[in-house]
Amino acid sequence: MPCCGPRSSLCCLIISVWGIIMLSILGGLLYIDSIAFIEDLGIEDTETNPNATYENIKDHFEYAAYNCWIACGLYLVTFFISLQQFYSNKRAISS
C-alpha cells in the first residue's frame, strides 16, 4: 500500500542510496583514524598525559565511525521501505 507519493518515495530512495554509500565510506575512514576529520569530532583538550590524549582521540574516532555505520544501517532500512513504496506507487499508477 503506498503511503507516500511517488516523488517523496523517489527522493527518499535517492537520499538513502547516497547515505548508504557515503556513510559507509565515511565510517571506514573514521575507523582508520583519518586525520581530515579531527576537527569535527569535538575533542576536548583536558588530558595532560600524551598517552591519555591519544586514547581519548582514538575513542572519539571509533565512536564517530559507529555513528556513521548505525546511520548507514538505518538508511538501509529506509532504502528498502522507500523501494517498496516506489514500486507500489508505480503499480498504482500503471493499473
Binding site: 537520499i15 579531527i38 576537527e39 569535527d40 569530532l41 569535538g42 575513542d59 555513528n67 556513521c68 538505518l74
Partner: protein, 834 residues
C-alpha cells in the same frame, strides 16, 4: 575547413516548379528540411495570395480537429500517440479529410445538442420528482395540524363571525432554487411581502448536474404559501428574479400521487435514452481518438505547404511557380533528389529545375549541429548569431566553458553528483524524450545534458586538483610536509618550509592545507594567479582567432592595423605578468622567499616607468628595469598604431579612388567630344560609365565617411585597451567564486555534518542523530551547493565567454538559417498546444 569551425557555405537557388508538381516537391522539401524559402511577394497581403483559399480550408479543418480533441479530452478518452509521421496527403485527399471532419463534427454537435436537451428534461423531471416528494411532507404536516382542511378555519366560527369574510383560500407555489441563493431569497420574500407569505424549504441531498456547464450543483426545494392574487404575482416575480424554477404542483394528494408515478416512469425512459446517447457519443469519440494525432499532422503539413507555396511567384505563362531559397552548398544533391522524387510522385513529365543564383545579399548562418554540440551552439547563438562564415566560437566553448565552470565549482564530490545526474539523463535520453515532459525547468536541464555532463566531469578534475571532496582533502601520495619534532602534545605547530618540507605533492594541492590555519591565505594567492593566467590565455586565444577572421575575409589591412598591435599590447602587459608569475613560482623556494618580488608592485611599476629594488636581494633577472621600460614604450606605441593607421590608410585609398573615377569621367567626356556625331556610340559609353561606378559602390556597400571611420576606430581602440585591462580583472571572478564555493561547502560541513560526528551519552543516539543530520546535509548540499552555486558559476562562465572571450573576435551580426521543415513546424505546434 570543417563545418564546426565556420558556418556552412550557403547559396541562393531559384526553383522552377511545374504547377502540378509544386505541391509534391514542396512536401518532399519539407520532409527534408534543408531549404529556407524567401518570400517573393512581401508586399502582397495575406488575403490576396494565390492559395489563400486552401490555407483557409486547412484552418477550418484544424478548428474542427481542435473541437474534436476538446470533446475527447472532456470524456477522458486516451489519445493514441504512436509518434508516426504520415506523409503530407495529396491535394485531392484533402477533400476526403474535409468530408470526414465535417461528418464527425456534425454528428458530434447533433449528439451534443440532443444530449443537452435530454439532460435538461431529465433535470426538470428530477426536480419535479423532488418537489413532489418533499412537498408531500409539508402537506402531511398541514393535514395533521388540520390546516389543509378548508372547512376548519384558524379562528373557528368566531373568526368568521367577527370578520364577516368568506373562508380564506391559501394559494401556494412550489419550485427549486440554488442552495446558496436561498437565504437572500427568503429575506427578499419577507421584505417584499411584509411577512405575509409562509416559506418552507427542504434540501435536495443529491447534487444535480447542470446540463449546460456539466457542473454538479446543490439545490433546495421550496414551497411558498400566500393569500390572494396580488401576493401571487409578487412571489412569482421574485422567483423569476432569483432564477428559481417553478413547477406546477397539484393540490389534492391523489393528483400528486398520480403525477409522481408518471414522473418516475418518464425518468426511467429518459435514462435509457440518455445512456444510449452517451454510448453513441463515446463510440464516435473513441474512433476519432485513434486517428486524431495522425490527422493533426496531416492537416498541419498541408497548411505549411500552402503557406510556402504562397511565398512563390507565378510565371507569366501561369504554367510554373518560381521560388527562391537559401540552402547549404553541400545539400544541393539531396535537394535535387527530393525534387526529382516530388516530380515523379506528382506524375508530371517536366522536371523541376534548380538554378544557383549569384547574389550580393549576405546568406543566413547555418551551423550544422548534432545532439552533443547543439547545447554549446545554443549558448553562442543566445549572445548573437554569427556573421556569415565568421569563426564559430562553439568548438572551443565545448572545452573552455565546462573548464571555466569547473574552476569556479571545484569540488570532486559535487562534481560527481552532477556527473551522475547528467549521466542518467544521457543514458535514459530516448525514454525521456518519449515522455515529453511538460516541466520547463527540467526541460532546460535536459537540453543541456551534455554540457552538464562535461561540467560535472571537469569539476571532478578541478576538485581533485584543489583536493576538495565535500570540502575534505584526501591524502593519496603522502603529504610533502613532515613534522620532525616528536614531543609533548601541542595544539599548534608552525611548519617551516625550509626544514619541514620534503617536496611537492605529486597531484594538486597538498592535503596538509586542509587542517592548516592559513589555508585561505595560501589558496587565495594560488587561485588568483591561476585565474589571471587562464584569463590572459583565453583572451590571447580570442585575439588569435580574430586573425583567422581577417585572413578568411581577406582583410589584410586589419591584420596589420588591428591584430598585430592588439596582440603586442596584450602580450607586453599581461603576457609579461603571466611570465613573471610562473617565473616566481619556479625561481624562489622557502629559503629565499624574502626576496621574491610582489607581482602587483611589479606591474604597477611597469606602468609608472619606475622600479623599486628590494634591499639585500639580487634582481629578479638581469636588466629587469630596462626590459620593463622597453615593454611599456612598446605598449604605448601600440595605442596610436591601432588608433590612427587604419583610418589614415582608408582615407588615402578613398582619395585615390575618387581621383581615378574623376579621371575616367574626364576621359569619357573627351571621347564624347571626339565622336560627337555618332549618337549610338555616345549612349553606349555613358551607360558603361554609369555601370562601372555603380559596381564600385556596390562592393563597398555604403558611402565612405572619413569621420565615421575615425570615430569607429577610436571606439574600438579604447574598447580594446581598457577592455583588456578590465577583462583581466574580470577573470578574477574565477578565484572569487571558487573561494566562495569552497568556503560554503566547508561551512556546511562544520555547521551541520559535525553535529553527527560528536560523542553522545548512549551509544545509539549518535547514530540516530547522524541519520537525520545526513538527510539535512544532503538536501542542503543539493539545494545550495549544487543548484544555486552551480547556477551562479554557470552564469559567470557564460559571461566570461560572451564578454571577455567573444569580444575579441566575434561580431555575431548574422541571421539564423530557418529551413522549411515539417519536423520543426510540428514540434512548434505541439509546444503551443501544451
Amino acid at each position: 575547413m570543417g563545418t564546426l569551425f565556420r558556418s556552412e557555405q550557403m547559396t541562393l537557388c531559384q526553383l522552377f516548379l511545374q504547377s502540378e508538381a509544386a505541391y509534391t516537391c514542396v512536401s518532399e522539401l519539407g520532409e527534408l528540411g534543408l531549404a529556407m524559402f524567401r518570400d517573393l511577394n512581401p508586399d502582397v497581403n495575406a488575403f490576396q495570395r494565390k492559395f489563400v483559399n486552401e490555407v483557409r480550408r486547412c484552418d477550418e479543418m484544424e478548428r474542427k480537429l481542435r473541437f474534436l480533441e476538446k470533446e475527447i479530452k472532456r470524456d477522458k478518452i486516451p489519445m493514441l500517440d504512436v509518434g508516426d509521421n504520415p506523409e503530407a496527403p495529396q491535394p485531392r485527399e484533402m477533400i476526403d479529410l474535409e468530408a470526414t471532419f465535417e461528418k464527425l463534427e456534425n454528428e458530434l454537435k447533433e449528439v451534443n445538442t440532443n444530449a443537452e436537451a435530454l439532460k435538461k428534461t431529465y433535470l426538470e423531471l428530477t426536480e419535479l420528482k423532488h418537489i413532489l416528494k418533499k412537498t408531500q411532507t409539508f402537506f402531511d404536516e398541514m393535514q395533521e395540524s388540520g390546516m389543509g382542511d378548508d372547512s376548519t378555519h384558524l379562528l373557528g366560527d368566531e373568526g368568521l363571525r367577527a370578520g364577516g369574510q368568506a373562508p380564506m383560500k391559501l394559494g401556494f407555489v412550489a419550485g427549486v432554487i440554488l442552495r446558496e441563493r436561498l437565504n437572500s431569497f427568503e429575506r427578499m420574500l419577507w421584505r417584499v411581502c411584509r411577512g405575509n407569505v409562509f416559506l418552507r424549504q427542504a434540501e435536495i441531498e443529491t447534487p444535480l448536474e447542470d446540463p449546460t456547464t456539466g457542473d454538479n450543483v446543490y439545490k433546495s426545494v421550496f414551497i411558498i404559501f400566500f393569500q390572494g392574487e396580488q401576493l401571487k404575482t409578487r412571489v412569482k416575480k421574485i422567483c423569476e428574479g432569483f432564477q428559481a424554477t417553478l413547477y406546477p404542483c397539484p393540490e389534492t394528494p391523489a393528483d400528486r400521487r398520480e403525477m409522481i408515478g408518471g414522473v418516475v416512469s418518464r425518468i426511467e425512459d429518459l435514462n435509457t435514452v440518455l445512456s444510449q446517447t452517451t454510448e453513441h457519443r463515446h463510440r464516435v469519440l473513441v474512433a476519432a481518438a485513434k486517428n486524431i494525432k495522425n490527422w493533426f499532422v496531416k492537416v498541419r503539413k498541408i497548411k505549411a505547404i500552402y503557406h510556402t507555396l504562397n511565398m512563390f511567384n507565378l510565371d507569366v505563362t501561369q504554367k510554373c511557380l518560381i521560388a527562391e531559397c537559401w540552402c547549404a552548398l553541400e545539400d544541393l544533391d539531396r535537394i535535387h533528389n527530393a525534387l526529382r522524387r516530388g516530380t515523379e510522385r506528382s506524375g508530371s513529365s517536366v522536371p523541376s529545375i534548380l538554378n544557383r543564383m549569384e547574389t550580393k545579399e549576405t546568406p543566413p548562418t547555418f551551423n550544422r549541429t548534432n545532439k552533443f554540440t547543439r547545447g554549446f551552439q545554443n549558448i553562442i547563438n543566445a549572445y548573437g548569431v554569427g556573421t556569415y562564415r565568421e569563426v564559430n566560437p562553439a568548438p572551443y566553448t565545448i572545452i573552455t566553458f565546462p573548464f571555466l565552470f569547473a574552476v569556479m565549482f571545484g569540488d570532486a564530490g559535487h562534481g560527481l553528483l552532477m556527473t551522475l545526474f547528467a549521466l542518467w539523463m544521457v543514458l535514459k535520453e530516448k525514454g525521456i524524450i518519449a515522455q515529453k515532459s511538460k516541466n520547463e525547468i527540467f526541460n532546460t536541464f535536459f537540453n543541456g545534458r551534455y554540457i552538464i555532463l562535461l561540467m560535472g566531469l571537469f569539476s571532478i578534475y578541478t576538485g581533485l586538483i584543489y583536493n576538495d571532496i565535500f570540502s575534505k582533502s584526501i591524502n593519496i601520495f603522502g603529504s610533502g610536509w613532515r613534522v620532525n619534532k616528536i614531543g609533548p602534545y601541542e595544539k599548534d605547530i608552525t611548519l617551516d618550509p625550509v626544514h619541514n618540507y620534503t617536496g611537492p605533492y605529486p597531484f594538486g594541492v597538498d592535503p596538509v592545507w586542509q587542517i592548516s590555519e592559513n589555508k585561505i591565505v595560501f589558496l587565495n594567492s594560488y587561485k588568483m594567479k591561476l585565474s589571471v593566467i587562464l584569463g590572459v590565455g583565453q583572451m590571447l586565444f580570442g585575439v588569435i582567432l580574430s586573425l583567422w577572421n581577417h585572413r578568411y575575409f581577406k582583410n589584410y589591412l586589419n591584420i596589420f592595423c588591428e591584430f598585430i598591435p592588439q596582440i603586442i599590447f596584450l602580450l607586453c602587459l599581461f603576457g609579461y605578468m603571466d611570465i613573471l608569475i610562473i617565473a616566481k613560482w619556479i625561481k624562489y623556494s622557502g629559503a629565499d622567499s624574502g626576496c621574491a618580488p610582489s607581482i602587483l608592485t611589479a606591474v604597477i611599476n611597469l606602468c609608472m616607468f619606475s622600479f623599486t629594488k628590494i634591499e639585500n636581494c639580487p634582481d629578479f633577472y638581469v636588466g629587469q628595469e630596462y626590459v620593463q621600460k622597453a615593454l611599456m614604450i612598446i605598449v604605448i606605441v601600440c595605442i596610436p598604431w591601432m588608433l590612427c593607421l587604419k583610418p589614415y590608410i582608408l582615407v588615402r585609398q578613398e582619395g585615390k579612388k575618387k581621383f581615378l573615377i574623376r579621371a575616367t569621367q574626364e576621359n569619357n567626356s573627351n571621347q564624347k567630344d571626339e565622336h560627337s556625331g555618332d549618337q549610338v556610340n555616345d549612349v553606349a559609353v555613358t551607360i558603361d560609365g554609369g555601370h562601372s561606378m555603380g559596381g564600385g559602390h556596390g562592393e563597398h556597400g555604403e558611402e565612405f565617411d572619413p569621420m565615421n571611420t575615425c570615430i569607429h576606430q577610436a571606439i574600438e581602440t579604447i574598447e580594446y585597451c581598457l577592455g583588456s585591462i578590465s577583462h583581466t580583472a574580470s577573470y578574477l571572478r574565477l578565484w572569487a567564486l571558487s573561494l566562495a564555493h569552497a568556503e560554503l561547502s566547508e561551512v556546511l560541513w562544520s555547521m551541520v555534518m559535525k553535529i553527527g560526528l560528536q560523542k553522545r551519552g548512549v551509544w545509539f543516539t549518535g547514530g540516530i542523530i547522524m541519520y537525520f543530520i545526513f538527510a539535512f546535509w544532503a538536501v542542503l548540499t543539493v539545494g545550495i551547493l549544487l543548484i544555486m552555486e552551480g547556477l551562479s558559476a554557470f552564469l559567470h562562465a557564460l559571461r566570461l565567454h560572451w564578454v571577455e572571450f567573444q569580444s575579441k573576435f566575434y561580431k555575431g551580426a548574422g541571421y539564423i538559417f530557418q529551413p522549411f521543415s515539417f519536423e520543426i513546424i510540428l514540434d512548434e505546434a505541439s509546444a503551443e498546444e501544451s
